[in-house]
Amino acid sequence: MGDTNGESIVTIQSDELVKIAYLAKLEIDTDNTDRLTNDLDQILNFVDQMKSVDTTQVEPLSNPLEMTQRLRKDEVTETNQREAFQKIAPATAAGLYLVPKVIE
């Protein structure tokens, strides 16, 4: 896995923005590309201050209380509420969620 060490200023190119937007499943307005890359550059250069600390000996912290995942008994506690859940869906039929055709 590579990293961005060695680059002092982060600049997102528009093709990179297109790739991130694809990963994030967001349609990007082409009129807005400059504004967005500019915003992202600003934010990424700001967070780049993090590189000023040597953290080679530091363990990452993901849960502030360092809790571990609790396990529960593998038993049914909820009933099926398909109708209630599908009532709020944009499009359903016969108990299924409708999306545009995926396979030709």
Partner: protein
Amino acid sequence: MLPESVSELLKGLESKSFSSEEITRAYLDKIKQQNDSLNCFITVTEEQALEAAKASDQRRANGTSGPLDGIPVAHKDLFCTTGTTTTCASRMLENFIPPYESTVTRKFAEAGAISLGKTNMDEFAMGSSNENSYYGPVKNPWNLEYVPGGSSGGSASAVAAGLCAAATGTDTGGSIRQPAAFCGITGLKPTYGRVSRLGMIAFASSLDQGGPMARTAEDTAILLNVMAGHDPKDSTSSTHPVEDYTASLNQDLSGTRIGLPKEYFSGNLNADTGKSLEAAIKVYESLGATVEEISLPHTELSVPAYYVIAPAEASANLSRFDGVRYGHRCDSPKDLEDLYRRSRAEGFGAEVQRRILVGTYALSAGYFDAYYRQAQKIRRLIKEDFVRAFDHIDAILCPTTPGAAFKIGSKSDDPVQMYLEDIFTVPTSLAGLPAIALPCGELDGLPVGMQLIGNYFNESKLLNLAHRFQSETDWHQRRPQI
């Protein structure tokens, strides 16, 4: 004239000076008069509130009332409420009626509280000014040209303006404390895991924490008693025992050791805010507390680390909004990819999209170590700073924000400038510690707040310190002229 605080309202209800129906009507009238200008509420549930108030009066007559019975409150519009839209102030969830109830709102209902409705906020809780709402900005009741803070701006503004007795908020990087400071009320972010996150629409799961927003520390304690506790349905909820948070409010402060972090009293702090804090420190000294300088050396790195961790977690959490199962769906999608991408682009506002993009970038192959992992390592350094400090002190006193509320529009064009507003609140969030914000001064007609940070699960010490301060001063009793 009705009393303003939850504690006095409870006494009045108990002594039959007024009924819940009467006070509920009074709040609903006030909402009708002032919500057009303040924009605190997204949804007002008048009918349900009046019905619930009548039921509450019945319970009180029967002698079966709960700890908040008959008290009109408001809930931030990201707590799922069955039967009432829960929008997160987003177009994405404009018509979303949750199929289940959040633990927090359920506990309020079980305690007898009356919900007046759902309050405005920054979209998906992302913001420090409440300008990022699909439903328009919330105004600060102290001056309508100023922001109320964010993201729980609607709750803060509503409590300050007296449109509800108290409210719920959520805090990911300061979203309870900063609006509490800007609106001159008391707001507590509990220890991470103290309050259940079930049904609280997720922004950044390792940081999000619900908490009370009220007029006084005593009210905040009464509300926390209802909200706190283990929830088997939230795997990050703590099993640490819950105290009666009202029990130690009046405890003597002799010998309490208060730390003043030198990094919080330097460059970023507005000089007048500094003076208000100095006066607050004197109050504590007069109450028998001792004060000493401490150092939290990694403070400055907290905002950069936060603005990697929070967007990274947000980009994962918000992937659930796909235009298929619930939420906004674009018109006539040409294929599945188009359905996802246009539904999300239309449903999310600018700041939410910005954070999803930053988070996606930080988590993507080749950048994960440099951004997300590095941010998590800094998170540990920040936590260790606090752990060292709490070795020899009981609480930390510092500013909540660099200055008082700012004008609507003055920072909305510069995301980084806006992020720096959070410098004094995000370190605590990253460490998962409890912190309370309360008013301690005024500057050009706007409230100025202080923040008290406590050790893990020591909310009662914070409430004790805040309550004793409020017993000696009247900043919390000052009201905006609206």
